[in-house]
Symmetry: C2
Subunit: 216 residues, 2 copies
DNA sequence: GTCTATATAGCGATAGAC
DNA sequence: GTCTATCGCTATATAGAC
């Protein structure tokens, strides 16, 4: 009965400490201490630290991308535009960051950093879990941006993902540089600003065109 | 006479291994081995690993931002537009990534990841070294985007920085997801795509406006 | 300045009692 | 399932010969 409790506590503690100090720097001793569990519990429940890392990411990434695809389906059904497609990608992550009492907020920071995580295991998980989702979003955007060659859509979605990851992971920078003028902690604000910015970027004329300076 | 050679070799090796495995995961043993130096050399030349980390970043960040400000001055003199201001921010980093025979290419990846680096020392250095540069670029952009409140310019510059950092640090993702269609290794291409995308995003109507869908 | 040798501490992992 | 105790290893850091 304590079993799942301990398991969940370990996942929560690991998530929180991975987000704060990085995967490599968070020791099993620190994790088990924060989870009020024994050091050996990690190996009993997961087998190794690498397996724990995998479990921490797997627990969230699947549902996250599932929700994204659900919102994308809804968006296709209601014939939503570029803004709605972007929101379908962004909102689930911000929602996850917003809702849960503890742990999940940390996961948002962790996810924001996961693309550039040096740990190979993490990079592999993220890359493979995201591939089908990204493909579907790029297709949806390409259909709404017929003036762009596919490579251009891919470039621009890449930039959009970067802006999003940075916003989630590095809000402290904006808070500091804006001297309190922007409140990146308010994720609703962040989403509105992001969608406006990214939609305009996506709608820019194609690079190969020689005209410049107006949206679609 | 060997002194500066060893020192430089240590900085190059550290830069390269920090970029590849992260600051925490790169051991002094691996660094000194790659530099063909003795393990104790790090402590003789720098005093500690933390001091080495500081030296690795300091060596590049100052000149990088100096070049950015030089290009921004030039841009002001020639009355350049939003695109030119963005190029003044982006080009120096890509140039650094492009030119030097060894080491500096790694620094670009390291810099791209530095904003979200868990290591506190690194975050502090980056934040303080970048503050004056960012302030000047935000001012320059604000003057060219009079339809935007200052907070909006700050938000959008934040997004732009994220897209740039992601492009530098995570080119492998685009390479993978585009199945070879995009070549993020070509940094000239990356810059052209980035500037077009970001300029359009910056020119988007202000959030508070209720009209939508066209650039400035 | 460079080297060997070593101090000290923390890491992930495991065996085995309960 | 949980605990203690410990193994084997690697980390950073340092002392002292050359």
């Amino acid at each position: 009965m304590e079993a799942t409790d301990t398991r969940e506590a370990l996942l929560d503690a690991a998530e929180s400490l991975f987000a704060e100090h990085g995967v490599q720097a968070a020791s099993l001793r620190a994790i088990t201490q924060q989870a009020q569990a024994n050091l050996a519990a990690v190996h009993y429940h997961f087998g190794s630290k690498e397996a724990l890392v995998r479990a921490v990411f797997s627990r969230r990434v699947g549902p996250l991308n599932q929700e994204r695809l659900r919102q994308l389906d809804e968006c296709e059904r209601t014939d939503g535009g570029v803004e709605e497609v972007l929101s379908a990608f962004i909102e689930p992550l911000l929602r996850v960051a917003r809702q849960t009492p503890e742990g999940t907020r940390h996961f948002a920071r962790l996810m924001g950093r996961s693309f550039s995580e040096p740990n190979e295991e993490v990079r592999t998980i993220v890359m493979e879990e995201f591939a089908p989702t990204i493909r579907r979003f790029v297709e949806a955007l390409a259909r709404r941006l017929p003036h762009l060659p596919e490579s251009e859509v891919l470039w621009r979605f890449h930039f959009a993902a970067g802006a999003m990851a940075h916003t989630i992971a590095c809000g402290h920078l904006l808070e500091r540089y804006s001297e309190g003028l922007c409140r990146p902690g308010s994720l609703e604000d962040a989403q509105d600003h992001l969608v406006t910015f990214l939609a305009a970027g996506l709608r820019a004329p194609a690079l190969s065109n020689h005209d410049r300076g107006e949206g679609a």
